[in-house]
Symmetry: C2
Subunit: 441 residues, 2 copies
């Protein structure tokens, strides 16, 4: 059997079920991997210091005491929630976030809080990409993606307002899932832009997401088989939204050919979907909506702690405050029209296939990469799943994402599960890390 920490959630449950290991073994293996990799990956803002759950926990709930990573914008009682900002250093939340209460009921135990960018916007934390430590893990759910990729936990919570789950999942080569906007009670999740914020999960297997979502986390309905080959796919190569690297375009092209070979009907006309302003109008619609809402959401920090905010966040807030209500109304109208067009196209297609990011993770930890390839779908409120569809010569993953209709999460997860199994778009085992110094060997 593989080392326990390299398993996904359902594989861990199967190992428990078959009596191949105890819950304590799993926690020990994950914690050992954290001790091994964390000095270089820096995925954690704070680790829970208590004892591993006892064997009673292993009998409880669907998740049987398995460890969960939680983005530091999400409140967990007893752990700090600092939101990637000096403003909230040491903040102890009074209550668990709604999603945390539900996951605890399901038997999950929190391993710790994972690094987020500042208020889930763009200014990065310390986390490195486990597959190449000189490269960004993406953001804002940086620590959650890196922790799953490095085999520290089988599952982590994130949230997405622009590209905050899909991009880090793609850069770190794990499965990233963003739920339809509005599916979950987001109490206790620090908001950024209320019409765009959505809950997300990072995992090693699509089956793990389905298990959890259908098991009580909500947002999708269990029906039909676990996977399903799509009949018709709308393939969008992303060039309408921003620059896409040749290796990503080639991968997308290759995926389209593979779908066609398997009898999937592939449509490639983005123009009719995008409407008059084309892709740039969608990207800009998202960007300005986010700025307007974030400026109001973060008005307290701007007024009371301006000097503690990064220049990038201050600039976003200032841009957003300058967007008037008239312009915001126009943005909402434009989005409604785009959603209606998208719903129309999705009557004839099971999913959209698109790049999850412009390419692999860029070099450097000073920025988290471009969000253009996620903004349009998040603007629509659509559910999204990214999978590691290939790995390049530098050992970095390339993510392709499937996008579904609003509240069509279940059908989307079925298509993603099919792609994982049939096309082999699978998460790889965690990398091993060279020792930092002889004492770590």
């Amino acid at each position: 059997m593989s080392a326990l920490h390299t398993l996904g959630l359902t594989a861990m449950l199967e190992a428990l079920e078959r009596g191949e290991c105890t819950l304590a073994d799993i926690w020990r293996s994950c914690r050992a991997q954290i001790a091994h990799a964390e000095p270089q990956v820096r995925a954690w803002q704070q680790l829970w210091e208590g004892k591993a759950p006892d064997e009673d926990a292993a009998q409880a709930g669907l998740l049987r005491g398995l460890p969960l990573g939680v983005k530091d914008t999400i409140d967990v009682r007893g752990l700090r929630a600092e939101r990637g900002s000096a403003v909230w250093q040491g903040r102890m939340p009074g209550a668990d976030a709604a999603c945390i209460s539900l996951l605890k009921r399901l038997g999950a135990r929190v391993m710790g809080k994972t690094v987020t960018t500042e208020f889930a916007y763009f200014t990065p934390g310390a986390t490195a990409n486990p597959h190449r430590l000189t490269h960004t893990p993406g953001g804002s759910s940086s620590g959650s993606a890196a922790a799953v990729a490095a085999g520290m936990v089988p599952l982590a919570l994130g949230s997405q307002t622009a590209a905050s789950v899909i991009r880090p999942a793609a850069y770190c080569g794990v499965v990233g899932y963003v739920a339809s906007v509005g599916s979950h009670a987001l109490r206790g999740v620090m908001p950024l832009a209320h019409s765009l914020d959505a809950l997300g999960l990072l995992a090693r297997d699509v089956a793990d997401l389905q298990y959890l979502v259908q098991g009580g986390l909500g947002g999708a309905v269990a029906s039909g088989p676990p996977w399903r080959q799509p009949r018709a796919v709308l393939a969008i190569d992303g060039t309408a939204f921003g620059e896409v690297e040749p290796q990503m375009l080639a991968l997308h092209e290759q995926a389209v050919a593979e779908l066609a070979r398997r009898g999937v009907q592939v449509t490639r006309d983005a123009g009719a979907l995008l409407g008059e302003g084309g892709g740039p109008a969608w990207v800009e619609g998202h960007r300005q909506t986010m700025a307007y809402e974030a400026a109001r959401t973060l008005a307290f920090e701007y007024d009371a702690h301006r000097e503690a905010l990064s220049p990038a966040l201050r600039a976003l807030i200032e841009e957003g405050m300058a967007i008037g209500d008239q312009r915001y109304a126009e943005l909402c109208d434009a989005r409604e029209a785009a959603r209606a067009r998208f719903a129309g196209h999705m009557r004839d297609h099971d999913a959209v296939l698109a790049p999850a990011a412009p390419g692999p993770a860029p070099e450097g930890l000073h920025a988290t990469g471009r969000p253009d390839q996620s903004r349009p779908w998040q603007w629509l409120g659509a559910p999204q799943v990214t999978l590691p569809a290939a790995w390049n010569g530098d050992g970095l993953p390339l993510g392709l994402q499937w996008i579904g209709t609003h509240r069509g999460d279940q059908a989307l997860l079925q298509v993603a599960h099919w792609a994982q199994n049939a096309l082999g778009w699978r998460v790889r085992p965690p990398p091993t890390f060279a020792p930092l110094a002889p004492s770590h060997a």
Copy 2:
């Protein structure tokens, strides 16, 4: 001139502008009215104890230092936010809610926190109806409505998930406005059901709402004249949603006749709007959506502080947890269909006119009255304004509400302003209160 505390917001600003009084005079008058009326009305959870704002404040912002009441589910830094629950006794929030930051920027100063029902659901606080102390003020924004009605503050913040602004405003005879769902960043407002929660305001004049909303609080766009006679109105008498008292039906009928006399085209066919299940399906759609979402939102309190919750709230949470994701998906589908039908009807109508409540405020402080007449419109996410359209023989107000299209707040406020002026649906001066004991005389 009338006593300062009896004025609405814009009337206070005019008095300041004309040099008839100072800001200190206004605060003194409001505080004297609180001292006079609070022992019997019990509108406040906590009053701000500091000095009245100085004359510098009177130069700042649109609101020039005028006092604001804030429902205790909304966070204000430096004041407790106890949410009507023993669970959160003494809770000091770390940040201002987004709406509070914006109102402070506009120059408002917080007079204090107003009484709410438990978590903005149905279990009442201590507040009495200022117009009849033996009768409920309605809920959940009980203290905000009573404080404005009693002339303690010209303006108060509320929030609505079912009937929490419209019903107390109607019962207390003030103007109540609920913004379109989704118009405002609700950070710092305790959520109850995320797809239904909306910000609300209680005031003495529709012009006050327009001044504020267009001046920077957001949610509506300033355009056109301040008031406008509607060309076509859809009149719904509310009997499809629940029992309506004869005095309310007579008032609605009389209002319809008055509209017709003024050349307004009135349509009365609710059936086509309501669709297959009729009114009960709308009421029940709202009720179950609220239960599903509230159960998840309040999961922490249910798990950690169950004994501190009222039986009614526990029952709501338990009912909601028993509603599965499949049923919730059906509820969302039904709402989408209802919204589409409503949008279709509203292409030919400027507003809906309906009872704001089944009748006047019921006797007793043990319950807050029936929410049936608000549930349907809140389910749609539509903006609503209630006005005191008449006063009955018991000295209690009867509210009729105008309902607009989603994000059509501006046009709705114009119609409401017209009704206030042309039909005389005006807020009356605050009542005087018999002294509790000679020392209060």
